[in-house]
Every structure is written in C-alpha cells, then in structure tokens.
C-alpha cells in the first residue's frame, strides 16, 4: 500500500512537499501552546483529562485499525487534543474517554478512517457528550483557582458511570476572584451583560479548556496559516460571517444583542474557526467553496447563539458546514 497522501487545495503553493505526518505534526505543535495554557489555567486536572482523552483516542484507533499503522501519523493525537480543548475543565475523565471513543469510533473509523470522515471527529465526540451529559458539559470551574497544581478538581476523578459531585460550592471556595459559574455567553444571553473584550483576550473568564485566551489561539492559528497548513480563508470567512451579522442585530437592539467583537472573542468561536472548521477533510477544496463554507458557519453560529436554546453554537455550526460540504474524493 502506498504511503497515504493528502491532496492540497488549489492554493498557489501546491509544490510544497507536505505529507500527512508533517502536517499533523505541525498541527500538534500549534495546538500545544493552547493545551499548555489550559493546563496553566486549570492545573493537574486539565493535564489528567488531556492524557485520558488522547489515550482513549489512540486506544480506539488501535482497536479498530489493527492492520494499518496509523498511530504514528499524529492524526489521532490531534483529534484527542482538539477534543480535550472543547471540554469544560472539571469534566470527569471517564466521560472524556467516552468522548474520545465516540470521536474516533463514530467520527472517523466508521466513515473509513483517516481522510474519509465527513465530520470533524473531535466535534462528533463533543456533540455526543453534550447530548449525553448536559449537566457535566455545562459545569464550569474558575480559571487560576487556588492550589491547582497540587490538587484535582473534585469531579475529575469521578468513578466511571457515576454522577460527578457538585462543584459549585467548591468553586466559590477556591476561586481567586468572584466566580459566577456562568460563561460570558450565558451571562450575556440571560442577563444582557457582555464581558469586556480584554478579559476575553486574556482568558480570565469561565469556559471550555481551549476557549481561554483568544490571543494565544490567534497566534497558534496564524502560525499554521503561515506554514500553509490551514487555509487562511476559512477562519477569515468564519469571522466575516460572524462579525457583520452580530453587528446587525446589535444595531437593531443593543440592549439585548451583543456587539460583533464580543461575538468573535467569546466562547468557542476562535478555536472553532482556526482549528475545527479548517479540518482538511471536512472543509471544501475550491476557494469559492471555502468562503461560502466559512460564511455559513459564522452566520449559523450567530443565529444559534442569539435565538437558540443553547448559549454556544459553534460546534453545531461547524458540523452543519461539514455536512454541507460535498465529499472531495
């Protein structure tokens, strides 16, 4: 069997000698600062959760793919790390492992393995646990809590198949400053108070592990764009879809709808636009297709956030974008 290759999109740089291993290794490098930042913010629990999720992904890949050696090409690890970044900090490790199993088993192997997946595997795993454990996936932990490198969040080591313990009281106790337990998006949606952009940029708000600092995400994404590993049009198109539509609603009723900058920096939009929507298999190949795909994701995200029952809509918007992309093979 020949070495698996990935077709590049019709960029002018088609001669660049990319192969799967090289690309994936670069993506891992780019996502490591984000992972490191999340571990810096949430301590041991985040590290443990990351190891659990990645190990579960690798084991699942090994279980279903005994004949081809696909473990060494980093693609499974990258799914694991990206999945980890979408989870809340106090997420029980066993649920993380289940998410990893679903991500690889249902999101990737079932469609035919590497390069054949219709949807972003990490988001499939996240969507599953979102529907299965709606309470655990919306339980937030204050960032930079006291003693984060010496003790674990009580819910991290929940025994498998049991309900994680209540962490609200514990969070209040260890939080460095006033911790509301609600994400900026939830606070905005239900109380119409938008968090300041500076907090969002530096990551001092509640949220998923990878949603912390918009600045770091931006830097990592730019690195990949400069290395020509992700198509810079996609994140730009996503933002170009998000900002004007958010501004439009903000202009209609500023008291209810947040402004475009808040929309861009809050929640999972940045990691989603740079790392999830740019998944090479699930996104379109033609330049025009890429723009439509990005705009669709951006607009759908805004619509779900403002009018849906959920506070965050990036995940479903990207999965919808994946579904609208014709398979390029």
């Amino acid at each position: 069997m020949s070495k698996p290759t990935i077709e590049l999109r019709a960029t002018p740089h088609i001669h660049a000698p990319h192969d799967v291993v090289k690309i994936m290794r670069n993506v891992v490098f780019a996502s490591l600062p984000m992972a490191a930042w999340s571990i810096w913010s949430y301590g041991l629990s985040a590290l443990l959760l990351m190891l659990a999720v990645v190990a579960s992904c690798l084991l699942t890949e090994r279980l279903f793919n005994r004949h081809n050696n696909t473990l060494g090409d980093w693609s499974t690890s990258i799914t694991g790390i990206l999945l980890f970044l979408t989870l809340p900090p106090g997420f029980p490790a066993w649920m993380g492992m289940l998410a990893g199993f679903i991500a690889i088993g249902m999101g990737k192997v079932m469609f035919g393995g590497l390069g054949m997946n219709v949807f972003n595997p990490a988001l499939i795993g996240r969507a599953f646990v979102q529907a299965a454990f709606p309470v655990a996936i919306t339980t937030w932990i204050p960032a930079f809590f006291e003693g984060r490198f010496t003790r674990l969040i009580p819910s991290t080591l929940t025994p498998p198949f049991t309900i994680p313990p209540e962490t609200a009281a514990w969070s209040q106790q260890v939080a460095v400053d006033a911790f509301t337990g609600a994400t900026p998006l939830a606070v905005q949606k239900f109380d119409h108070v938008a968090a300041p952009a500076l907090h969002l940029l530096t990551g001092t708000t509640a949220g998923s592990l990878g949603e912390g600092s918009a600045l770091i995400i931006l830097a990592c994404g730019l690195y990949l764009a400069l290395r020509r590993i992700l198509d810079w049009r996609i994140p730009l198109a996503v933002m170009a879809g998000t900002w004007p539509s958010a501004e439009l609603f903000h202009w209609i009723d500023p008291g209810v709808y947040p402004d475009g900058l808040f929309m861009l920096l809050s929640g999972g939009l940045m990691p989603g636009a740079w790392f999830m929507a740019t998944d090479m298999v699930g996104s379109p190949v033609t330049p025009r297709g890429v723009v439509i795909y990005g705009l669709l994701i951006g607009i759908v995200t805004v619509v779900i956030r403002l009018f849906g029952g959920l506070t965050e809509g990036v995940m479903y918007a990207i999965l919808l974008g994946n579904a609208a992309t014709p398979p390029d093979r």
Binding site: P134, V135, T138, F190, D191, G309
Partner: protein, 228 residues
C-alpha cells in the same frame, strides 16, 4: 393502459362483488370496533377520572373530590362549549370549596409544557402546579417537575386581581435564580432558565385570562356544596 398490461391483469371481478365484499368487511370492522369501544369504555373513563383526581388533589392541597365545570363568557356550564375553559373545583370531605384547578401551557425548551395549577380563592394565590406533559432535557429542564426548591415557589404564589378586576395586580414572572423578592415572582432553576420561564409564562397567561372570568362565579361553585 396498453394491451400487454391488460392481458396481465387478473380477470376483472364484477363491481357488485367488490361492493359486497367491501361492505361486508366494513360491517365486520364496524362491529369489532364498536364492540371493543363498548367493552373498554368504563375502564377508560375510570382511568381518566383517577388521573384527573390525582392531579387535582396535588395542586389543591387537601381536596378529596372534585367537580368539572366549563367556564364561558356567560358563566359556568356543565357541558363544554366552543369557547369554554375546563376547570376543576376541588372540595374537602365537608364539601367546602378549597380551590379551583385549571390547565396552562407555554412553549418550553424542547416542546410545549402543559401543566395544571390550583388557585385558592381564600389566599388569592396559586397553591400548587403539576406538570402534565413535557419534553424538557432530562437532568436540566425536567427539574420543573420535581425540584423541591422550585416547587416551593407555588406554596403560595400571589395571584391577586388588580382593583379593576381585569387582570392580575402583579404579573407572575420568573426571576433569576436566587433573586426572588416578591410573592408573585418565581425563582428560576439555575441551569434551566428556559423551562422556568415557560412555567411562569404559562401561569401568567392562564391566570390573567381565567381569574377575572372565574371570580364573579365563585359563589356558584360554593353553592354546589349544598347539593348531594
């Protein structure tokens, strides 16, 4: 239809035969359906009565029996009409009117939430709710059915009428979790804001419309106490 197809058709039965067969089958079907309906009707009526009784006794504390009325623009009726609302008057063992139960509904997170609530004319308040039908997310929105703190909102939820008698003095509304200050406010469940809002909206809509219509006829409900 071309000839080849016609040739493949089975010999055509006469239409009289078709009509006889269809009529015969239809009569048999009618007989079976009516027979089942007749046989099961008493059991079904009994089941429905028990279901309503359980719900009424939950929302009107202390009620041991109930009577069904239909409230229209022209007052109480015993038979439902096109523009009537069904209400259930709950009585204790001594036939004292304890309260009136009615249905309310509003759009929840997943689907419509249907509930029954009990209005107590002595304290002019809502004394209990029971969610009849809902499809909220298990673990979050379904807390409206069993969360003790949320249910305690309806121990005595203020539903006084405004002086002009056209609506409630204070609209029933949900407030953010932990900020309830007045008797007419509903303390929302943390993490189930939409479901809590729906319950508040359902109660407010129904009470605003029903109570002004109902109160002039309260004496008639009490009068039935005398009847055997």
């Amino acid at each position: 239809m071309n000839e080849a197809q016609q040739a493949m058709q089975p010999p055509r039965a006469s239409s009289t035969l078709m009509m006889i067969v269809l009529n015969g089958i239809a009569m048999l079907a009618g007989f079976l359906v009516v027979m089942t309906s007749q046989l099961t009707a008493p059991r079904i009526a009994e089941n429905q009565r028990i279901a309503i009784e359980q719900a009424v006794s939950k929302v009107i504390p202390g009620a041991t029996r109930h009577r069904e009325f239909h409230l229209g623009k022209d007052g109480l009726r015993s038979e439902p009409g096109a523009d009537t609302t069904t209400i259930y008057a709950g009585y204790d063992d001594q036939d004292h009117l304890l309260g009136v139960a009615a249905r309310a509904a509003a759009q929840g997170y997943a689907d419509m939430i249907y509930l029954l609530y009990g209005y107590d004319p002595t304290c002019q308040c809502i004394r209990g709710i029971k969610v009849l039908k809902f499809a909220e997310t298990p673990g979050l929105g379904d807390k409206i059915t069993h969360d003790a703190a949320f249910q305690s909102n309806f121990d005595a939820l203020d539903a006084r009428l405004a002086p002009d008698g056209q609506g409630l003095a204070h609209a029933i509304a949900k407030v953010k979790h932990g900020t309830k200050q007045h008797d007419w406010e509903i303390d929302a469940i943390s993490g189930a804001t939409i479901s809590s809002t729906a319950v508040g909206k359902a109660l407010n809509q129904s009470a605003q419309a029903l109570l002004p219509q109902l109160l002039p006829h309260l004496q008639e409900l009490r009068a039935t106490e005398k009847r055997p």
